[in-house]
Assembly symmetry: C2
Homo-oligomer: 516 residues x 2
C-alpha cells in the first residue's frame, strides 16, 4: 500500500499499530531523519567523486571498507523505530500534509515496504553476491572469458527474480525491476516502444550505412588539453551553467554527480586527438547539471531535490547533447568558439561541414561509443536479452550467441569476441537489471519534450543566437523545478499535454537522418 | 587517571562500576568502535579536502550543516555505553593488552576523561562561541577593525581557562592547552626554549638584516603553471614520494591531508611570478606526506596510524623544507631539474646563487611568509601574548599595542595596521590556544633529529647524489613507523639518545646564517 492510496481513503483503518505519534512530532522526527540521511548521502557522493577524480591510485584499499561502514550507519537512520513510526503516522494522515512532505513520506514508505518484504539475510546475501559477481565480470572481461562470469550471471538473475517475487508477488519480475529503475516503466510500454524502433530504425540504419561518410578528419587533429580546458569552461558559460555552483573535473568515464542545487560536479575526459569527445561530454553532462541546478529552491535539503528519474535525467542530457548539440544551429553557434581556441585545426571548416562530421553514422560494437542513430538499438538488444533472462526463457550460457545474433540482425555487425560483445557493460554484474531501458526512454522523452518545446518558443532561432538559457528557463518552469515532486509520467503529461509517445523520437530521427 | 598508570598498579581497585565485560568482548567492541570512528574521520577529511580543492564556490551552503550532523554522529560512537565500558574494561586490564591496543585505549581514556570533566552544555556553548568568534575574526580582519573581535577574544580566552580548570584543576591553564596540542609541552619547557631563542636570534637577525641582500630576481621570472606542475611531480619523485599513494592537488593555502598510508593528499599553490613558492610548498608538504606514508603497516586502520603530534609532523616538514631543501647540496641536486623545466629563466644561475637566493633573510610582518631565520620569532611573540592572556595578565584590548611593541623589539618592524598585525592568524578566533608553539617546537625537533641523523648517515653526501629515500628510510626506522604509538618525547629520546634540546636548533641557525 502506498502512502498516496492510504491518504485518499475516507475512513482510514488503523493498519499500523504504533501510529500514536502526533503529526507535528512525526514531522519533526521525519525531517530530522531525512536531513541526517541526506548528510550521509552527501558524504558518500563526495567520497565517490573524490575516488574517481582526486584520490591516489592505491586509496581504494581503505575506501571500500569505510564506505560500507558508513552506508550501514546510513541504513540505520531509515530503520530507526521512531523514524518508521513517523513515516507511518504521516502516511496515515497524508491528506493533512503539504505536498513536499507527502511525497517524501510516500517515497519513504515505498522504501520501507521494500525493506520489509525482503528478509535481511536475503538482502545481505544479495549484496555479497553482487560483490562477487562484479569482480567476476571484471575478470571475465579482462580475460575475455565469458565462462568465468556465466554462473554468477545466472545467480544474479535468480536472485533478482526471487526478490521481485518477494516484494511484488503479483507483478511480473521484469516489470518489477523496470519500475524500480524508472517509475511507470513496464514491458507493455517498452515492447511497444522497441517494436516501433525496430520497424523504423533497422531499415533506416541499413540505408544510412550504405551512404558515403562525411569527412570528420579535422576532428582528429591535435588539440592540446590546456586549450580544451579553456574551451570547456566557455562552453559551460554558453550553456548558461553557473560555475559558482557547478565545477568541471576530469574522470576516465565522464559523469555528473549531484550534491545539491549549489553543488554539482561535472566531469569530462580530454582526448588530444579527438576534439568532439570532450565537447559532447561537456554538453551531455551539462544537460544533467542544468536539471539539478534548477530544481526549486523550496526543495532545498530534501531527498526530492534531484531530477525525477534516471530516464528523465537522461532525457535532458541527450536533449542537450544530440537534439541541441548536434543541430545545424548549434554548429553555427559553437564553431566560432572552436575556431577561437583552435584556429589552425578548424581552418577551412564551415558550420555545415562541422554539422555533418559530428553526425556521422557508423554502426559499432560499443554502446558507449555509439552515434545518436544506432544508440537505441544497443539498448534494444540488452532489453530483449534481460527480459528473456528474467522470464527464464534464456540461460546465461545462451547470452553470447544470442548477443552476437542480434548485433548481426540489427546492426549488421559481426562480434569478434565477448569482451567487445556481451561482457562490455558492468550493469548485469552489478545487479542493475532493468536499468538499460532508462537510456532509451531518456532519448524518447527528450524528443517528445523537444517537440512540445518547439510549440512554446522558437528553439532554433534561440540556439542560433546563443539563447540557450531561455530554453533552460522554459524547461525549468515546466520540469526541472519540480525535482522528484512529480513522477516522470506526470512531468511528461504536464509539459507535453499527453502521455509518453515514442513516435516523436522516431520522427525526429527519420527526419534528421533521412535528410543527411 | 590514565590507562597507563592504572595498568601499572599491582592490585587495581574496581574503580569503574560497570567493568564486567570480558576482555575479548571488550576488545571486539572497542576495535569495531574505532573502525567506525575512523570511517567518519575518513569522510570528514575527504569532505574537507574536497571543499578546499574541487567543490564549486557556492557548495559551502550545504557543506557546513551536513558536516556538523555527521560529526555529531561520530561523537555518538565514542559516547556509546558499550564502547565506554569496553574502554574501561581494557584500561582495567592494560597489562594484558598488546602494545597497540593498550595505547589506543589510553588515548580513548584521555578523550573520555575530557568529555566527562566538561559538562555537555559547557562544551556546546563553547562550540557555538567559536563559530561566532571565528566569523567575527574574519570580519574584523577584512575591515581591519580589531574592536569587532576584541570582546570575542576575551570570551574565548575565558572559556579556554574555564575548561582547562574543569579538565585539570591542579594544572596551570596554559600548560593544560600546551599539553593538549603537544603531549609533553609546558610553559617551563617553552620559557627556556624561547629565552634561548631570544638571546641568540634577535642579535643575529639584526646583524643579518644589515648585510647586503643576495640577488633573487631570477626567481621572479615567468614560470608557466603547466610546467611548474610537471616539475612538481618530478620533485615528488626525487623525494621518493610514492605517487600511487599520494596525490598533489591545488589549494589557496597549501596543506596536506592524511587518510591512511595508502591515501595522502598534498596540495600546493602555483604563482607564475615566483618559482620558489611552489617548490618549497611541495618539499614542505612532502615532509608531512613522507611521515604518513611510512607509518607501520601493522597500525593500518588504527587511529594511531598517523604522525605522533603536530610538533613532530612540523619537524619533518621543516626538516625537508629548510634543513634539506634550503641546503647547498640540495641546491646542487635540484637546480638541474629546475633548468630542465625552465632553461631560459635559470640560464646563468649556479647552485651557489640559487642557494643564496632561497636563503635570503628579510624580517617581515607575516608569519606565513617568514624566512627560516625569523620564523620562530613570530611564534615567540604569539607565545608571550597567549600565555599572558591565559594567565589574566593581559586583556584582549591590550593585544594590538603589545603585538606592535614586540614586532618592533624582536624584528625591528613597525606594524602599519592590525590586519597585517594581530589579526593575521585564524588561530585565536578558532580556539586554537596553545597551538602556535608546536610550530616552533617542530623547527627545534627537526634540527635535533637532523643532528642525530648526521651521526648515522652521511646526510649531505646522500642529498648531493639524490639519496633522499635513504634518509627517509632511517627516519622511518627510528620515527615514522611508530605513528602515535610513542609520544613525541619518547621518539626524540629514542632517536637522539637524549631528551628535547633546543640548542641544536640555535647552533644550526647560527652556523648557517653566520656563514651567509
Amino acid at each position: 500500500m502506498s502512502c498516496n492510496e492510504k491518504g485518499a481513503e475516507q475512513n482510514p483503518r488503523p493498519v499500523f499499530s504504533r501510529s500514536d505519534m502526533e503529526i507535528s512530532k512525526a514531522k519533526e522526527v521525519f525531517k530530522a531523519g531525512l536531513k541526517l540521511s541526506e548528510a550521509y548521502r552527501h558524504a558518500s557522493v563526495v567520497m565517490n567523486y573524490d575516488s574517481m577524480t582526486a584520490a591516489p591510485k592505491n586509496a581504494a584499499a581503505y575506501f571500500g571498507a569505510d564506505m560500507a561502514l558508513l552506508s550501514g550507519e546510513a541504513r540505520k537512520v531509515k530503520l530507526d523505530k521512531d523514524f518508521i513510526e513517523a513515516v507511518e503516522t504521516l502516511c496515515a494522515h497524508a491528506g493533512e500534509l503539504d505536498g513536499i512532505t507527502r511525497r517524501e513520506a510516500e517515497e519513504e514508505m515505498r522504501g520501507l515496504e521494500r525493506i520489509r518484504a525482503i528478509p535481511a539475510e536475503e538482502h545481505a546475501a544479495y549484496r555479497r553476491l553482487l560483490g562477487v559477481s562484479f569482480a567476476k565480470w571484471q575478470e571475465a572481461k579482462r580475460r575475455d572469458d565469458f565462462a568465468l562470469f556465466e554462473p554468477y550471471l545466472d545467480e544474479v538473475i535468480s536472485a533478482c527474480r526471487r526478490m521481485a517475487q518477494l516484494a511484488a508477488p503479483e507483478t511480473d519480475p521484469y516489470d518489477y525491476w523496470l519500475n524500480e529503475n524508472e517509475e511507470g516503466a513496464s514491458t507493455q510500454m517498452l515492447d511497444g516502444f522497441f517494436a516501433l524502433l525496430k520497424r523504423e530504425l533497422v531499415p533506416l540504419i541499413a540505408a544510412v550505412s550504405e551512404c558515403e561518410k562525411p569527412d570528420a578528419s579535422f576532428l582528429h587533429a591535435y588539440f592540446p588539453k590546456a586549450e580544451q580546458q579553456k574551451f570547456s569552461l566557455e562552453l559551460m558559460d554558453l550553456m548558461g551553467i553557473d560555475r559558482d555552483r557547478c565545477s568541471l573535473g576530469e574522470a576516465e568515464h565522464p559523469y555528473t554527480t549531484f550534491i545539491s542545487r549549489s553543488d554539482v560536479r561535472m566531469t569530462t575526459h580530454y582526448y588530444e586527438r579527438y576534439a568532439a569527445a570532450n565537447m559532447f561530454s561537456v554538453i551531455h553532462e551539462g544537460g544533467h547539471a542544468l536539471y539539478e541546478l534548477n530544481v526549486g529552491e523550496e526543495l532545498k535539503g530534501s531527498p526530492l531535490a534531484h531530477g525525477a528519474s534516471a530516464g528523465m535525467h537522461e532525457s535532458q542530457s541527450r536533449f542537450y547533447e544530440n537534439i541541441i548539440g548536434r543541430s545545424r544551429e548549434f554548429a553555427e553557434l559553437v564553431l566560432p568558439l572552436m575556431k577561437k581556441h583552435f584556429p589552425e585545426q578548424f581552418s577551412g571548416v564551415d558550420a555545415e561541414g562541422f554539422y555533418r562530421a559530428v553526425n556521422r553514422v557508423e554502426p559499432s560494437l560499443k554502446r558507449t561509443e555509439a552515434d545518436e542513430l544506432t544508440y537505441c538499438l544497443h539498448i534494444m538488444i540488452r532489453y530483449e536479452l534481460e527480459k528473456r533472462l528474467l522470464h527464464g526463457e534464456l540461460k546465461a550460457a545462451d547470452v553470447p550467441a544470442e548477443w552476437n545474433r542480434l548485433y548481426k540482425e540489427y546492426l549488421g555487425l559481426d562480434v569478434p569476441n565477448d569482451r567487445e560483445g556481451c561482457l562490455q557493460d558492468m550493469h548485469w554484474g552489478s545487479g542493475l537489471t532493468g536499468y538499460f531501458p532508462t537510456y532509451a526512454l531518456g532519448n524518447a522523452y527528450g524528443a517528445q519534450i523537444a517537440a512540445a518545446l518547439e510549440k512554446r518558443v522558437n528553439v532554433w532561432e534561440l540556439v542560433r543566437r546563443g539563447g540557450l538559457p531561455e530554453i533552460t528557463a522554459v524547461l525549468t518552469e515546466g520540469i526541472y523545478r519540480f525535482g522528484k515532486l512529480k513522477t516522470p509520467a506526470q512531468l511528461i503529461e504536464g509539459f507535453c499535454g499527453e502521455g509518453f509517445e515514442p513516435r516523436y523520437y522516431i520522427e525526429y530521427l527519420k527526419e534528421k537522418y533521412g535528410a543527411l
